[in-house]
Symmetry: C3
Subunit: 345 residues, 3 copies
């Protein structure tokens, strides 16, 4: 079950250049391509002529042309041309609202009439000289809710990411969970601890000492449909922690867009928007590589957890205090799905 009437990240801007991209979003097989104005369109990946996937075709004159027999379909899904054929009565290809924003392609898999671009959340770090961004994507064979659980409870860093960002102080510090109708926030503030390897590098990049005591924070913010933004950072101990002046800290936001592919698979767009060394592309590359390695450590755990849940479908999981972030996020999602279901029945 997925929220359908919402914007999901379907791809990064660079994923769609000259060639169309086929990708399944919330069980919808879609093809993404650009028109002559470089705007992105999303259609069902099914040519009405003989059922071939349009994503095996090519773009021409702003249309997508089926690679089998050449039916050209425009951005809105109308049959535009086919050599030797009058296409005026051809069936329309289902289209999905799609928008490019913040370096990503956003798609609305549900009722197109409800799609409103103003509902796309603002990414304040985009094209902002105070920030730099780098990221990547993973395909993971697990339900998207398992990834939300993962990100809303960073206790797992102590175990899954022991060699990079994990440290025992994380789990020793009680997590605080707050929530309202649409959002959830879990936060941890650790004082006077040693920075783990990833943050030691960030401190050095910032010109700060790597081996002295720091205050460290993790503030995980869930918002609909499936976004998790995590403010993370370290500051020289005693300078105010999360609120310390910029010169005493290395701070960034972990950006997580989670997009369901099917009930048991998902697209994971991860990245980091940082406020240190923002003009240095080498630091961006280094962080992307490090973050990619760290997030890759979650893959096997999530996929094997999914396998176990499929093997024992009747089992109920525990809901500890550390799980409250995921539990409340799931409730908000379930409520949205329930509302959508009522609307359509």
């Amino acid at each position: 079950m997925f929220i359908q009437n919402t914007w999901y990240v379907a791809a990064s801007s660079e994923d769609i250049k000259d060639k169309p991209l086929g990708r399944m979003i919330c069980n919808h097989r879609m093809v993404f391509f650009r028109n002559l104005d470089n705007e992105v369109a999303a259609l069902e990946d099914f040519c009405p002529h003989r059922g071939a996937p349009l994503s095996l075709g090519f773009t021409s004159g702003g249309n997508i042309v089926c690679g089998y027999h050449g039916l050209a379909v425009d951005c809105s899904g109308h049959a535009a041309a086919m050599t030797g054929q009058n296409t005026s009565q051809f069936p329309k290809v289902k289209s999905f609202p799609a928008v490019e924003r913040y370096g990503f392609i956003w798609v609305w898999p549900g009722n197109a009439e409800l799609a409103n671009e103003s509902l796309i959340p603002v990414m304040h770090w985009y094209n902002n000289p105070d920030w730099a961004y780098g990221g990547g994507m993973y395909h993971i064979n697990c339900n998207y809710l398992l990834m939300i659980d993962n990100l809303m409870d960073l206790t797992h860093e102590t175990y899954v990411h022991a060699s990079s960002i994990g440290q025992s102080e994380i789990e020793q510090e009680p997590v605080k969970t707050t929530f309202d109708e649409k959002t959830v926030c879990t936060s941890r503030h650790m004082s006077g601890i040693k920075a783990p390897p990833f943050w030691q590098q960030a401190l050095l990049a910032q010109g700060l000492p790597a081996n002295e005591a720091v205050d460290r924070w993790q503030v995980c913010k869930f918002s609909l449909p499936t976004h998790v933004m995590i403010d993370v950072g370290v500051a020289v101990a005693g300078k105010g922690g999360y609120d310390a002046p910029n010169q005493y800290k290395a701070a960034s936001t972990v950006v997580d867009f989670i997009t369901p592919e099917s009930e048991t698979s998902m697209w994971y767009f991860w990245g980091m928007a940082r406020q240190f060394k923002t003009q240095d592309p080498a630091v961006t590359d280094q962080i992307r590589q490090g973050q990619g390695g760290i997030f890759g450590e979650d893959l096997q755990m999530l996929e094997r957890q999914q396998s176990n849940l499929l093997h024992w479908p009747q089992r109920r999981l525990m809901k500890l205090n550390i799980d409250a972030g995921g539990v409340h996020s799931r409730r908000i999602i379930e409520k949205e799905i329930s509302l959508e279901t009522q609307l359509t029945t």
Copy 2:
């Protein structure tokens, strides 16, 4: 659904030498082997002793010997011998009529009593000094009807085979479709066009100019159960096209034997029988290589089309004029299947 009471090509003659060959035809798991007279036999690939596949065994004295415990079975499926056992009461292995002809092994998966070798179509090019033949085989994960559609509408060449035999003149020339109770013919005749790369090479091999205007033809002939023979060629423009004298043209027949493996997979035997440079094996090899590459371009399209049709099983495809060849071929096949079903119920 397949026609069962018919001859299908199961293998090429070279596929079955000393070793038996296991292959599934129309959902029947079969093993093919040769007896002492070099005749080919087809049996169910199941040893009645313990269920091992006979195809893992070996041939000896004209029998196939199970590789597990040594039961020898003769060409007609009778248990012939087993060390220490009296095999006279052993169950018979189901046998299928099989014949070697024209360099292929033909098998009849249906009612053996109806099998009649005279129903095997004549391949006039076989062992004929005016012709040369070369070919190969692909296993494709799609229903066999999708391949018939593909071959009965060569419009797709413009898109799928753009770099070899495709050219925009194909789709610009209307296709003409004729049919009777048992056969379908779709044809295109293009006048005064430029030869595409494949045919330029053929013209050169024939000692004809490659860059001057030619007349080109494609005449696709469907016959039961699933054969598609395509007369193709180019002639120096104005010399009569399809009917031009041999010295002005490069002509050949694309030979397509399509054999269902299961509802979603098939064996594709492709080849070319040509009337130019017939004594030159290097030309045969060159054409086989080129044709293999071209037909390989269809594989991904057919398999992804099949995947889409399985994903959207309720969808009906369009039937344009260019699809008439496939549509009529399917009707003839469906009618045969329907007649067979009535006979057996």
Copy 3:
């Protein structure tokens, strides 16, 4: 269907050192690990917190620690500790009786109250200076009963293992089958034959002539739940065969522990306990390599046989005299399963 109230071999002792081992036994996903006393424990491979497999975790202080959020579980399945949590009310992880003996880990998948270590069969060759042992394991995608059939009828050696231990004299010598309520024995004694390659090497290693006539024996003993021990060997012809004095023979026991994974897959622990050159590790390695190669020849046959039986589920197999060993072993197993089913219903 499997016997559940019994000891199966789950792993060799070396398979479980510092890292936990995940392995499915009789459809139960299990994790195996050692406590501080080096004793082996077996638990369900499912963390009650969030369903992650415990086998992705690590051992610490005699407990297994979940690699996701750090729940520590002790040998008996009780939640032992979790940072920041009171685990006293946590659900217990299901545990399975497990014992290390004879270089193997034995597990009891059924009712733990019935588990009795005295039911583990005695391996007289273990830590016995008159014997040497070497072995290995294969995972095979077939039902475990097919492997019992295989081992209780060595007629197949003539065909499957023609180049190593097979010889036509095996199938020419009638097999003798005896059985009681719990065991089955099939035996063959061949007199005055030529030793096959494997045994020629053993004779040479023993300082005996390789090319002179020998007496050869194969005595296959099935015992519950799924063990097959095979006394094999050759003796200088006329010296008593199976009962010949040690200096005239090369004798050993093929040790086969067969453990179901699922209805269509199994773990096969094979080895050889020998009475010749017992102090020579090079001979152990050579035999292990040879035996591994020979037993690997059975894999394709067994997996393809399984595939055929799944394809034709209604077919009944033949039961010849050579199959009597497997037939009686299956009856004993079926009777045990039937008794267990009555007990639990």
